[in-house]
C-alpha cells in the first residue's frame, strides 16, 4: 500500500467511530435521547463518510495513480 498524508484521517475514523459507538452503547444504559443523541449519530455518520471516502481513494484510486515523470 502507498502511504498518503490523508491516511491519518482514515485511522482517526477507524478508531474514532468505534469510540463513538461505545459511547452510544454506554449512554443507552442511561436512557439518553434528544439533541445529544442526534449529535453523536451525526458524528458517527461524518466519521464513516470520511473513513469510507479515504478508503475508496486508498484502495481504488491512490495506489493505481500513475507516478510523475522523472526528468
Amino acid at each position: 500500500m502507498k502511504t498518503s498524508p490523508v491516511m491519518i484521517f482514515e485511522y482517526a475514523g477507524m478508531l474514532g467511530v468505534p469510540a463513538l459507538l461505545v459511547v452510544i452503547a454506554i449512554l443507552s444504559l442511561a436512557g439518553v435521547t434528544g439533541a445529544l443523541w442526534t449529535v453523536l449519530l451525526s458524528l458517527v455518520a461524518a466519521g464513516c463518510a470520511v473513513y469510507g471516502l479515504i478508503s475508496v481513494r486508498q484502495v481504488y484510486g491512490h495506489a493505481r495513480r500513475k507516478p510523475k515523470e522523472e526528468s
Binding site: 477507524m14 478508531l15 459507538l21 443507552s28 449519530l41 455518520a45 469510507g52 495506489a63 522523472e70
Partner: protein, 139 residues
C-alpha cells in the same frame, strides 16, 4: 527515465488480498472486512442521515449498526495493534529478530509487556459495548 513503484512482491500483487490467507489469516480477515467496510461505511453514513430525517427506521438502524459493529472489529483491533507497535518501536506485535530486539530494549529501556494488553483490553470493551447495544439500545 520513468519509474513505477510496483505494487507486487514475492507473495503476488498487493491488490489480491487472498494471497494473505496462506500466511496470515488475521491480516486476510482485516483486509477482507476492510474491503467490505469501504462501501458499507458510506452506506451506513447515508443511512444515519436518512434515519435522522425519516421517523420509524429505528430497528433497521439497529440491525445495520450490528453488522457494521461486527465488520468493524478487525479494523479497530488492528488499528490499536498498529498504534501499540509504533509506541513500542516494534517490540510489541513486531517481528524483530531476537538480537535486534535485545539491543532495542537496551537502548530505549522499553519493555512491551503492558502494551501488549492494550488491544485486547480495547477489544473486551468493544465486545461488552456490543452486547449492551444489542440488549439496551432502542433507536
Amino acid at each position: 527515465m520513468t519509474s513505477r513503484k510496483r505494487l507486487t512482491d514475492l507473495r503476488g500483487p498487493q491488490a489480491r488480498i487472498g494471497r494473505l490467507l496462506s500466511f496470515s489469516f488475521e491480516a486476510y480477515l482485516h483486509m477482507l472486512t476492510n474491503r467490505i467496510m469501504v462501501f458499507l461505511s458510506l452506506a451506513y453514513a447515508a443511512f444515519i442521515v436518512v434515519y435522522l430525517l425519516v421517523p420509524g427506521l429505528g430497528p433497521a438502524l439497529k440491525g445495520i449498526t450490528a453488522v457494521v459493529w461486527v465488520l468493524w472489529t478487525p479494523q479497530f483491533f488492528e488499528a490499536m495493534k498498529a498504534l501499540v507497535l509504533v509506541r513500542t518501536r516494534g517490540l510489541a506485535f513486531g517481528h524483530l529478530n531476537g538480537e535486534f530486539a535485545h539491543l532495542y530494549r537496551k537502548r530505549y529501556g522499553k519493555h512491551p509487556g503492558p502494551w501488549r494488553a492494550v488491544p485486547f483490553i480495547g477489544l473486551a470493551v468493544w465486545v461488552a459495548a456490543f452486547v449492551i447495544m444489542l440488549a439496551r439500545w432502542t433507536p
